[in-house]
């Protein structure tokens, strides 16, 4: 793989172009990483709007028709609906785990199966989310199962 980086102060915006014959697994990982780094969310906290890097997001939850972005210790509200975020979020890191929640699998600490066919997802900030059994297949596919 040849890597070319062209420094030129006349460029107003950084642009990444990948030339390839086909997209293999390694290349797809690079593309996913770039998409994740590039993606930003907007969220409100105490009447202020913040730009949230997607790598800081633990999970996104919809409650009473309002959508909240959960980071390590802060919670932001966004105007976007959950399904809109699900369409736009980097597919590599985020997965729907229930009707009202999208989880960042990079923030997982460990998982534990439950007797009722669901799975408990323990996050690195100590929080716990439940993977609903209807979404378990999609969740497992993120790990190659």
């Amino acid at each position: 793989m040849k890597i070319n980086v062209i420094h030129d102060s006349s460029y107003e915006e950084t642009e990444v172009t990948i030339k390839c014959a086909y997209v293999d697994d390694t290349l797809q990982k690079i593309i996913n990483l770039l998409e994740a780094e590039n993606f930003r969310l907007k969220g409100k906290l105490e009447d202020k709007t913040f730009v949230i890097p997607v790598k800081d997001v633990y999970y996104i939850e919809s409650v009473d028709e309002r959508t909240f972005i959960y980071c390590k210790s802060k919670v932001y509200e966004t105007e976007q609906k959950l399904y809109q975020l699900e369409e736009n979020m980097p597919k590599s890191d985020f997965v729907r785990i229930s009707k009202s929640c999208i989880l960042n699998i990079r923030k997982l600490n460990y998982v534990k199966p439950l007797l009722n066919g669901k799975m408990e997802a323990n996050l690195t900030n100590g929080e716990v989310q439940i993977v609903n059994r209807h979404y378990l297949k999609g969740f497992k596919e993120k790990f190659g199962i």
Binding site: Y110, P113, G117, R133, K137, G144
Partner: protein, 144 residues
């Protein structure tokens, strides 16, 4: 969402059909029930195997906020109802006498808990695999 639920219940139905057929075959061999496993019986098993998860799809909505033992009880009631109505009344697999009903109850419990146990074991294996992947990823990220 409907596609996901359909996929889940389809999986439950095929598992139930497979194990139901195996257990009935074993009972047939051991106790000589006289049920010959012809194509009609296989299709009847298939009908029952898929009617049960179809009914569970609706009763799941009723038990959404109840505890787990209640959910198992409702599931077993679903199975008993379908087997009694379809297997007993419709397909005439058994007579409605105590001895036959006891065997039917035994088969139902055996199939239900075999499918349940397989799900538990599979989820345990999968969760161990996922945890291993998480550890590897964390190790890679820390080494950078």
């Amino acid at each position: 969402m409907i596609k996901r639920k359909f996929s889940y219940y389809f999986s439950v139905g095929t598992n139930a059909f497979a194990w139901q057929t195996v257990i009935l075959s074993i009972i047939n061999i051991l106790f000589g029930t006289g049920v010959s496993f012809n194509s009609y019986v296989v299709l009847q098993c298939l009908c029952i195997g898929f009617t049960i998860p179809f009914l569970m799809f609706f009763t799941d909505k009723l038990t959404l906020k109840t505890n787990f033992p209640t959910k198992i009880l409702v599931d077993l009631i679903d199975v008993f109802l379908v087997v009694l109505i379809m297997g007993g009344a419709l397909f005439k697999w058994f007579e409605f006498v105590l001895a036959d009903l006891a065997i039917v109850a035994g088969v139902i419990l055996a199939v239900y808990f075999v499918v349940f146990a397989i799900t538990i074991v599979r989820d345990r294996i999968d969760s161990d695999f996922i945890n291993k992947k998480i550890k590897e990823r964390n190790k890679n990220e820390n080494s950078h």
